[in-house]
Each structure stands twice: as C-alpha cells, then as structure tokens.
Symmetry: C2
Subunit: 297 residues, 2 copies
C-alpha cells in the first residue's frame, strides 16, 4: 500500500494539542483516546480520495492534512462519549481502558467536547494555507454536516433511544446509514472536494461511502458473533448481552453475509465509474474498501 | 435600544433544526435549552460589533446572522453539559428544569454534542452567502478557537478539577478569563471581523471582551451572595454550598466590587479608542456592557 498507518499517524498526530497548561489532564485524555490505535481508515480514505483527483503532492503542507486529523478527532470524540456510563458503559476499547475508566467521567465528557471543537479548529487551519479557496470552504461545510444531526449523531441518537427495545428494519437502516456510513462518506467527500472533484464524482463517492459503511457495519455485527475476541481486542457476543438488535439478530447470518456482498458489489460498481487523475490511488482505495468489508478483526 | 431580545431571537431561532425525524427527541431537547430564555448578550454584542464597522444593512441575509445563532448554540451546549450529574448536577436553569431532568442524561449529553456540532454547521452557512470571503473564514477560525481548549472549555476543565479543592489566585484568574471572557471576546471579534474591522480594532475589542467578561463573572459571584433568588431565577448561596472558590470568597465583597469597577473602567477606556463607522452602535454597545457589569439579575 502507498500509505502506512505509521505515515498517516505522523501526519495527524502533528495536529494534536500539547499536554501543557491548566487543561493538561483533559488534553492528556484527548490524546490518550486519539493515540489508542485504530486502523485510521477515515484519514486514509480521505487521503486516497484527495490523491485520486489532485495527484500526489507530498512536498507542501496540504489542506487535506488538517482535515485528516479533524475527521479522526471527530471519530474519537464519538467513541469517548459512546463509551460513557450513561450510554454504552464500556470499560474497554481496543483492548485498553476507556477514557472514563482511565481518567474519570467528567474528563471523558469534556475531552469529547474538546475533541469535537478541536476538530473544527484544526480543519479551519486550512484557511491559512489557502485563503479564499472555495474547495476548503465546501469541505468544511461537509465536515460540519455529516457528523451531526443529519448524519452520525442522528444515528447515535436513535441507537441510544432504541437500545433494548423492539426495532424495525427501517429504523435499523437509519442507524447504520447515519451512525456508520455518514463519517465514511464525509472522509471520501472532503478528500475529493479538496482534490478538485466535480459534482458527478461527488455523487458517486457518496454512494460508495454509503454502501461501504453499511457493509462495514453488518460485517461488524457478523464478527460480534463469529469473530475472535483476542484479535478483535474486545469481547464477542456483546450485542446479544446488551439486547442490541443488529442485522444479524434481525435477518440471520446467511442474509447478513449476502447483504455485505450486495453492498460491496454496489460500491465497486460506483467505484469503477469514477474518472480520476491518479488511477493508482483509485486502485488502492478499492483494495482498502474491500479489506474493510472482508476483514476478520 | 436598537435591537430588542425579540428581534434577536427571531434571527437566531430561524437557524434551529426542525423537530422531526428519528432524532426529534434530541432536537426537541436542543431547542428546549436554546429557547429557555437568557439575555442573548453574546448575539447582541456580536451584532453591535458588526454594525459598528459595517454600518446597518438589514435588508439582506448577512453572514453575521449565522454566527449570532452559532455562538448562542455554543453557549447553550456548554450550559447543558455544565449542568450534567457528573459536573455541577444542577436541576434548574433559568427557573426551568435542566435538560437531563426534563429529558434524560443520555439526551443531555447528545443534545450538547449536537448543538456544538450544529453551531459550526450553522456558521458555515455563511460560506454560501459570501463564497471566498476571507472575513467569513477568519471569523470561523475565531469561532472554533475561543470556545475550545484555549478558551471557554479550558476554563471549564480547570473549574471542574478544582471544585472543592484549594485554589490560587492565578488559577481563579485563568478560570474566569477562559470560562467567561473567552466567549464574550469571541462574540465581539466575530462581529467586528465580519463587519470589516482591522487588526488594531480587533486588539482593542479583545481587551474590552476580556475586561467585561471578568467584571461580569465577579458580578455573578457578588449576586450569588447579595442577589435575589426570584429575580435571578436560581437559588443564591450555591457557591458556598458547593465549596466553590470565587473572587468574593477569596478576596471579600469590598475587593470584588472594586475589581468590577476597575475592569469596567479599563473596558470603557479601550472602547473610547475604537474608531468605527456607526457611532450609534458603539454607544449602544457601551450601554450594553455597562448594564452587564452593573446588573442585579
């Protein structure tokens, strides 16, 4: 692959706040959560989407770097708040104590708030790199929309409200589309917009993000039943224990696997229609997306 | 006064999300908190700061309208999270049940997150009004900085950490400067930047915001001792009950009143040096700032 996790982390870690001053404990908690691992798939998707249209240009500071850090901050804030006692009450995340366990509940609430705020502060740094550039303005608008009420947070809200309650197919689809797909769409769209993609390409990428997100989430449900706790870094069977309705509990394992295949095929069909400058980046994006929906951890 | 609270609320309410769809309970909680009253001083300061430099232009949709709604959303999110059981555990705010009481704790956490996110989404709408306008880009950068770690949230973090513990003068000053002044500075700066103020004016306005914020906060401490619970809409004596160190408990009532006078004088001195287009707006801003530091509720 063109980009290693180490390279991506070097780029995005540079935007983290320094652990000093009176708020240092909160900053330490932010950075603890941010640096706790993870596959960095959203920044990687964003970078490949950017390179598809912009071509490679590693020499200069690029606006996409700010946005890569920003989307990972948004993803991290959502995990910190999701794990809180009032929500999922999870003690472990990626095999390590969650923030409210490693620190305390107040710090977890405020560190999540701080990361969400810092994400937009970080993305706005792109304005200094390219003042007056409407690509940056448009990407920032997407970055403020997809993680919010009409996206990730909307899905999270319904997911919390319905935990332990009967849930319909339409509601489950809404949760998956918003809680999972929205941020993947956000990554692809921000990268492509910053790289100079036109509206036709953006529409295709939105379809790709939506389908891959749905496949990714159902694959997650499958792994919660069939996966290996050690390689996943978290216990399996948690959905059943928490009375969570998932695609698997609702439709069965066979249908879930067929759904993943179908969504993957739709994503690959849209991908094949993209018209990009850097075809190698497109191939790498394709490999990345396939690895996500076929993953076993 | 040129602008009534009703007029301001008409402007900012227009940006609230509609209570429909699967996230409607969360949206209802956001709007409940946002519409629970308050003096709307931050949007009003922002509008007057804007008008001082831009002159009045009520006919068109102005970028400052988006920012006025955004800063009030940020203020509201901070109140919702501040009131949470893990933080101040307050049941009443402006005489009404707080969000985690009127709804529930999960909804309060997510509604706060949603308001913070929605604030930046709302401010970013200004890009469609004036694409490529660096004034909007610069104002958005300020809007992402002042409420965050190097501003309001940093003060909140230290305030939470030190509740019930011994606290030094320097720490108290840090809390007041950040928790209270930062958002007032933010309001003045965003308005002035959008109106076209230059760097010299911005520096003066930052001083004004800082001094007024400090005077406003110490006035709050004074009212918690000498105020009237009914007109304040909240019980008095809560700082003492919660073992909160304030300027009053640390330095005594007389010193607190002298400090308010001193900060007010400094703010008025800086204000007199402003060089604006609309001198009537400047007079109104002066009246507003004086009313805040001399208020009895």
């Amino acid at each position: 692959m063109r980009h290693s996790v180490e390279e991506l982390e070097k780029i995005i870690y540079a935007y983290l706040p320094k652990e000093k001053g009176y708020a240092s404990r909160c900053i330490s908690a932010m950075n603890y959560a941010f640096c706790a691992g993870g596959k960095r798939i959203r920044p990687l998707m964003m970078l490949l989407a950017y390179e598809m249209y912009a071509g490679e240009d590693r020499a200069q500071a690029r606006p996409v770097d700010c946005f890569m850090a920003a989307i990972e901050m948004i993803h991290t804030y959502s995990l910190i708040h999701d794990d809180l006692p009032a929500l999922d009450n999870d003690d472990l995340r990626r095999g390590k104590p969650t923030v409210h366990v490693a620190y305390d509940e107040v710090t977890a609430i405020l560190a999540g708030d701080a990361l969400l705020n810092y994400a937009f502060f970080t993305a706005a740094k792109a304005f200094s790199l390219c003042p007056g550039d409407q690509k940056v303005e448009r990407a920032l608008s997407v970055l403020t929309e997809k993680p919010g009420l009409d996206g990730m947070l909307g899905g999270q809200v319904l997911d919390c409200e319905l935990t332990g309650k009967p849930i319909g197919e339409e509601e489950l689809a809404f949760i998956y589309e918003n809680k999972t797909s929205a941020l993947i769409e956000c990554a692809l769209l921000c990268g492509a917009i910053l790289g100079g993609a036109d509206d036709h390409e953006i529409t295709l990428l939105e379809t790709i993000g939506s389908c891959v997100g749905l496949a990714f989430q159902v694959r997650d449900d499958i792994l919660d039943v069939e996966g290996d706790a050690a390689s996943l870094g978290k216990p399996i069977g948690s959905d059943e224990r928490n009375d969570k309705y998932t695609y698997v509990t609702m439709h069965g394992m066979e249908a879930a696997k067929a759904y993943v295949s179908d969504m993957t095929a739709r994503a690959m069909d849209a991908l094949s229609k993209l018209s990009v400058k850097d075809t190698q980046a497109k191939e790498e994006l394709k490999e990345l997306l396939l690895s996500l929906v076929e993953r076993d951890r």
